[in-house]
């Protein structure tokens, strides 16, 4: 497989995944804030700032934000590089460039997705379309994942795409945790340890589509610790950082099983990092949550650049 084509497919995977998380983050944050239990969480500005923070375009605490502008920018604006719509464009551009390697079915779905996003009317979006658009986007990404899993040969092409998908998932989940950690400090809960019991943890779980399963497992209202444990360390939660790392490991190893012991290989690095998470207790990080979030980011970045060097560099 060509290094350039691998690069294209890796980024196709990343952009598909990014699209979904951004869209769901907008959707969940906006709609769950409408009847949030405390005044702070209900504030429009608070939610919009959180969305901008997640999109990598943070604004200061006192900056005025306009609802329609923010929603349009993050959702549909093709002049804003990190908009949901642009992620879809990039996903399709990458798929196009490696079109000969993927199935017709997958390409057709990516292409339909692209046409849906780029032709969605702005007027409709800012007035009434936010829910429809973002829900549709998350549905369509699910179709893409199904086409990836169900129509491609599970060979190195599949492995490369899944490496992209899981890298992005780990990153986006961590970004969400980061955003909601900040929000939880600003909008504490109303009883007990107010940070621990902030409503924002519930929102975070919903953003990660993990709320119901978390309730099923813990049988309690989400708190800071249980939420972080579930989303970072639980290998059975499909959205957790740990789960993503396990998958990355599996796919990297499948590319070249002989390289597991090579200290300079991506496989070795991912293996080393995931074993750290495997034996981590959530209580260990309680004292410095922000520090640990930054630590996850830097480890993911290291994996990313190692991959680049080993597989895509030419």
């Amino acid at each position: 497989m060509l290094a350039r084509a691998a690069d294209n497919l890796y980024w196709m995977g990343r952009y598909i995944e990014r699209t979904e998380h951004m869209a769901r983050f907008m959707n969940v944050n906006y709609f769950s804030s409408l009847d949030a239990p405390n005044a702070k969480s209900q504030k429009r500005n608070f939610v919009l700032r959180s969305i901008l923070f997640m999109a990598g375009d943070p604004v200061g605490k006192n900056d005025k934000v306009n609802e329609q502008e923010v929603l349009y920018k993050v959702g549909l604006d093709q002049d804003f590089p990190s908009s949901v719509c642009n992620s879809i464009c990039y996903a399709r551009e990458n798929a196009h460039s490696a079109r000969d390697l993927i199935s017709t079915e997958l390409y057709e779905s990516v292409n339909k997705f692209y046409h849906f996003a780029t032709s969605y009317p702005k007027e409709r979006f800012v007035k009434t379309g936010l829910f429809e658009y973002t829900s549709q986007v998350t549905e369509l990404t699910a179709i893409l994942r199904a086409k990836i899993r169900g129509t491609l040969l599970h060979d190195e092409i599949y492995a490369i795409i899944m490496m992209g998908v899981n890298m992005e998932r780990a990153l986006q989940i961590t970004r969400m945790i980061n955003a909601k950690y900040n929000d939880a400090r600003l909008a504490p809960g109303s009883y007990g340890d107010r940070f621990r019991n902030s409503y924002e943890w519930t929102t975070l779980l919903k953003c990660a589509e993990s709320y119901d399963m978390m309730r099923r497992l813990y049988k309690k209202s989400p708190s800071s610790l249980s939420t972080l444990e579930f989303l970072i360390l639980n290998p059975r939660c499909p959205r957790s950082v740990m789960n993503a790392l396990n998958q990355i490991y599996r796919h990297v190893v499948s590319l070249n099983p002989m390289k597991i012991d090579d200290k300079d290989s991506t496989a070795f690095l991912v293996g080393k990092i995931r074993s750290e998470y495997q034996f981590k207790c959530i209580e260990d990080i309680e004292g410095d949550i922000q520090g640990y979030i930054d630590h996850i980011f830097s480890e993911l970045t290291e994996i990313g650049s190692r991959m680049e060097k080993e597989f895509f560099h030419y």
Partner: protein, 493 residues
């Protein structure tokens, strides 16, 4: 008209001066079309408009589009596709196929000769200056034996049917002929929209093109290679034919590479993969000669691979088509095709050439001077349509002027009859009805060291503007699925 028409053909306006593919000379529907005519006739125009819309959506969603550059954004457009197929009967096709193969082989023999002994020039069959002045003649290819002795592995022959009902070759394309992917996507689209009609006919498949392409390319692998590694070389995703490049690579199951994915070391070609380098043995290249290798041809080419031509000359990699084929498919050589076929094979050309009158020959000059109004007068040495006079568009004064020019320099001019392309019923969206539109046919032939293959089908291109003879997609042309029928009872009227 012999019988009363109903349904979607009820308003069909048949100009009897044109050759209509659907009808015979008596105005009866041709045998091969009878069932189709009946089946389509059962649809109302509303049904048909809906099917047409669905077929368009299918192309759009599959991303079978080309890009149009407007002021601000790039837009994507689909190639207009017509749901009423063109049908070619088994016997007629067999003749076409034999003719196409004969031509491709003759072109190959001609190329071998040009780049070796040049006997055909020495014998005066083709004028020396015709080749000497051609910028497509590559000095670098002189004396080189391409693997398997094949130059034009992939050929596209453009055919038209004249008002006399016969097929004529309009042009040979043996550089990087394109369009075959549209043959396949047209078939797919027609199957999606109107699957029922296929039950009534036995048409040949067109999906076997890619497997034959790979098979035949592998017959010209470099010496000493057991399992050759074949790739398709594309200029990149912004090329207008990128869909076709990716389609062919995918269906052959080989890598689609750009120039930057390849490099040459010690005269061997390698591609850069996720596991390091991998040797490349056969390159189906879809970039022009001049861009292949900046060390040998255009120095500013970023599409090619430095050192590629040296590796080719060493016999370490096969290029298809071979560089330098352009010398044989230009308009000047075209006029000598019957002589070229005769010279190498001692055979009559099976496919008609549009007859060409060489004004340098006395008796032909007389004919030309007397019949300018019915002829196209072309200068021999000008390319790109310059200096062409079309007889039936000229005033009497202009005709006199042309006559004088030709008489003054007879060696500089050739003349051809004005050819009229046949027409085919075509659905026109604006008027929501079927109308006559001019069509041509591009056939696709492959040549390996041990056999040939002609795709049983082809690209029927349609000039969508009324009266227009130009079928190119850049000029608003569309296309049709083209059925070549098997010999069977089912296909009989």
């Amino acid at each position: 008209m012999a019988k009363k028409q109903k349904g979607i053909f009820s308003k069909y306006d048949r100009n009897p001066k044109l050759f209509d593919e659907l009808y015979d000379q008596q105005g009866e529907v041709n045998d091969v079309y009878k069932k189709l005519f009946k089946l389509y006739g059962q649809h109302s125009i509303e049904d048909y408009a809906e099917l047409n819309g669905r077929a368009k959506a299918s192309f759009f969603n599959q991303g079978i589009t080309f890009r149009v550059y407007s002021d601000e954004k790039t837009n994507e457009k689909i190639f207009p596709f017509d749901l009423f197929p063109r049908i070619i009967g088994a016997d007629e096709w067999a003749e076409l196929e034999r003719g196409v193969v004969q031509r491709c082989k003759a072109l190959n023999a001609f190329l071998w000769d040009l780049y070796h002994e040049q006997n055909i020039l020495k014998d005066g069959v083709v004028p020396m200056e015709l080749v000497g002045s051609s910028e497509n003649f590559l000095e670098q290819m002189v004396g080189f034996d391409p693997p398997g002795g094949i130059y034009n592995h992939i050929s596209g022959t453009d055919l038209i049917r004249h008002t006399d009902g016969k097929f004529y070759v309009l042009e040979d394309n043996i550089r990087c002929p394109s369009g075959v992917s549209y043959v396949l996507s047209n078939r797919t689209a027609l199957k999606r929209a109107l699957f029922g009609v296929f039950n009534h006919y036995n048409a040949h498949t067109v999906t076997n093109y890619a497997e034959n392409l790979l098979d035949l390319l592998e017959t010209v692998k470099p010496a000493g290679v057991d399992k050759p590694n074949t790739v398709v070389l594309t200029p990149g995703m912004y090329n207008s034919a990128f869909y076709e490049h990716s389609y062919l690579a995918k269906t052959m199951g080989v890598e689609l590479v750009e120039g930057r994915d390849l490099y040459v070391e010690n005269d061997f070609v390698y591609m850069k993969t996720i596991h390091g380098r991998e040797r490349v043995d056969i390159i189906y290249r879809r970039i022009d000669d001049q861009f292949l290798d900046p060390l040998e041809f255009r120095k500013d080419s970023t599409l090619g691979v430095p050192g590629l031509f040296a590796a080719y000359r060493k016999g370490n990699v096969t290029l298809a088509n071979a560089p330098g084929t352009g010398v044989a498919d230009d308009k000047a050589v075209y006029t000598y095709m019957p002589e070229i076929i005769q010279y190498y094979f001692g055979e009559e050309a099976i496919l008609h050439n549009v007859p060409t009158y060489h004004c340098s020959r006395k008796e032909e000059l007389e004919y030309v001077l007397d019949n300018i109004a019915e002829l196209v007068i072309k200068p021999v040495d000008e390319a790109g349509g310059y200096g062409i006079s079309i007889g039936n568009t000229l005033s009497p004064e202009e005709i006199e002027e042309v006559r004088n020019t030709v008489r003054a320099h007879p060696r500089k001019y050739v003349a051809q009859p004005i050819m009229s392309l046949s027409v085919h019923p075509t659905y026109i969206e604006e008027t929501q009805s079927f109308e006559q539109r001019h069509v041509d046919l591009r056939s696709f032939a492959l040549m390996g060291s041990d056999r040939e293959f002609v795709l049983k089908g082809g690209l029927t291109r349609v000039a969508l503007r009324r009266g227009n003879l130009i079928v190119n997609s850049s000029q608003g042309g569309g296309s049709k699925d083209t059925w070549v029928l098997k010999k069977s009872k089912k296909n009989a009227g």
